[in-house]
Symmetry: C2
Amino acid sequence: MAKDGITPRSEDYAQWYLDIVRGADLADYAEVVRGCIVFKPTGYALWEAIQSGLDQRIKATGHQNAYFPLLIPKSFLMKEAEHVEGFAPEVAEVTHAGGEKLAEPYVVRPTSETIIGYFYAKWVHSWRDLPLLINQWANVMRWEMRTRPFLRTTEFLWQEGHTVHASEKDAERETLLILHEVYADFVEKEMAIPVIRGRKTEKEQFAGALRSYAIEAMMQDGRALQAGTSHNLGQNFAKAFDIAYTDQKNQLQHAWTTSWGVSTRLIGALIMAHSDDEGLVVPPRIAPLQVVVVPIFKTDSERLRVQEVMRCLTVEWQGRLRFKVDDRDQFSPGYKFNEWELKGVPVRVEIGPKDIDKGTVAVARRDVPGKPGKSFVPQRGLTEYLEGLLASIQQSLYGRALKFREEHTYEAGSYRELKDGVEKGFVRAYWAGTREDEDKIQEETGATIRVIPLEQPPERGKCVYTGKEASQMVVFARAY
Amino acid sequence: MAKDGITPRSEDYAQWYLDIVRGADLADYAEVVRGCIVFKPTGYALWEAIQSGLDQRIKATGHQNAYFPLLIPKSFLMKEAEHVEGFAPEVAEVTHAGGEKLAEPYVVRPTSETIIGYFYAKWVHSWRDLPLLINQWANVMRWEMRTRPFLRTTEFLWQEGHTVHASEKDAERETLLILHEVYADFVEKEMAIPVIRGRKTEKEQFAGALRSYAIEAMMQDGRALQAGTSHNLGQNFAKAFDIAYTDQKNQLQHAWTTSWGVSTRLIGALIMAHSDDEGLVVPPRIAPLQVVVVPIFKTDSERLRVQEVMRCLTVEWQGRLRFKVDDRDQFSPGYKFNEWELKGVPVRVEIGPKDIDKGTVAVARRDVPGKPGKSFVPQRGLTEYLEGLLASIQQSLYGRALKFREEHTYEAGSYRELKDGVEKGFVRAYWAGTREDEDKIQEETGATIRVIPLEQPPERGKCVYTGKEASQMVVFARAY
């Protein structure tokens, strides 16, 4: 029962995703710029909502925004051994400018640890300068082979936090603060997507990090999507760029740094966590538009009557609900229903002459398509009703996603069970293998260890692959 | 009586500007990336305030935000004859990516008319699709020879609006709407900088425009700074990129487009319009921080008493004032006064034990340095007093800037008077010269025609250069 032009999820999940992106008018392929997209207004509005919610949390935890150059001298990338290995193959290079060949090429930032490290070395002198807590909203570029709208594009938008601390303990505290109070809190409360918080294995960690943490979410095809990462960089970049401070005993010490980021791929996560075969579904708290009102009338006198009641009803919504009255003349109510369903507006209110006679309006929930989600509600107290409804939709979407994850998470005691499990969802298993074992498993199953969850069972167990005694439980999944 | 480290304006205005940028900690030179700066937190916070005020106005006039690719195929730049002439010499080129040489190089966008034009041609089909009203917040890059923090940097941040219309009249209306309701309104009301609104001469207009409009502000050295531009692009880009629509008579027509932008150079305007020899001065409406509270005490018991009163006084400020209590232990009150003066916080409140005995606080206005700006104010009703004071500082800064401009604007009836006038400020003069005459005047005086003001005197006059009868009055000035 999918909408025209939308391939059902059950038929072809990857095509369904692209159909939603196009149907909700979120993005356009920039076929003339390799692997890039245009973020169209409906898609960009989702990014603005994400930015605003994250920016508040980033500032509330004591960080300030700044902006560093887009171009990085190519030699900077070479200063941290693992970093260059991770990023050098996928950078875009500026070799000419102002009509001349440059003496040294620049790379377009794939991430900014190196250029920011250079400045931090200039700015940090004493323990009094620490912690240094800065975030940047920026575009970055990675020349990826296979791209997909929002999930993986050559250019994407993100925030990248970069902080400097006096000790490993302070850096670790920062790394986890961001993971919990900024990323997990935002993605769970605002985007209604439950996440698993955990540490990355060495194989999956950031190029140059001491320890990487991530939040991982389950999409509706059972795959994992890394929704945010927070890295304790140890002293690796501090040593490469000589970020040092004089401590309280007047000793010169290398500092400890962190970096953390989330990107426009969160829009992809939003789509794949909640949407259905009718189009996009957006949780009310993040929705640029929460309620759309569609007038229904046949004659001019009906139209006037409906308009008057609409004005009355919506007068107190300003500042309480993000809403739009869709009074476009050239489109029928049916056309409008279809468009706003595709675009995922959480609630639709319909008002026609019959509703006015009865003192009611029709209210349709986007998260429960068709008849079951439609009800008739008294005009009196409508604002409070809608506020309550939006809150309950938010909760319901979170609950639905959590239930889905639980139903698609399997415990594996054997490699056979692991192989079966990752066909359908997440697999929780004890782990004591090596990096080579992980590579082998990925080759054979397509799955990787997404995280070592911070919450661990009290008891030890037997490694799903080696059979050795294991002190930790990990989560395997195929990932975006 | 300038502050330590700040060259007085009267001595060396250019050096004073750089001293303010450094003293207020607004930016750092990115000496490793040609002509770039780092926007440090204090400087970036000004940009965030500017963004927020402009973004509200851009949306209130019916525009939506979107995001287009950073890279533009080099051939796109060539499609509009004047555009390529204006921008090709100053672009940065990406020639290699992902470890390989590219078949066609990309340029890093110097502005986005061409790449956006390409997409608009795909999106616009019918008169029903018009107007198309989109804005983008982005970084852009122009390989400039001489750079100066904020005023001219290789990479800068800006917004660029790009719209499509069915007729020249609609495009012209849009161009002027942006000039008046978005740019002039914002710069005058929020930044307290009076501007002259006018049209650019052919010599000064945007490469590829039919008509360019601008708002021009006077800096404290009498020079002009172009604070925003709005271009009616006619059908130039519509023809180059084939943006066409079917009209109501089913005829295919080329559309009319506009583009308009303001950039981080507004931060430079803010500095140069209001600041003094003590540091930055920021108008209250745009100030990230409006009030700073500095406690004064000697003993621990005084400290406790002062803290308690501060808490009491500031409890109702949340949501009404943007404030900070500076309770840093490692710095003296004098050090703090100096720092916040340098950073331009509009109002400082001091509370010490003597103030508490008298039920007052000391209030110092940043715009009136030293004793004349300091007064003792009752604690009762302090919030309302501060709100009123901030409003009056805003007005006073605008009034001061307007008075300065009026005192430094001269009417010239002869070329001699024009030459004298542009040494000191703006010159208003009748004009009937050619583009070559304009070039000549620039060579001889360093001044250009900044704008042909939209507000014109009713009578005609004699051209200041050619002596011919002239139907328009123009404004000459040296410009940033």
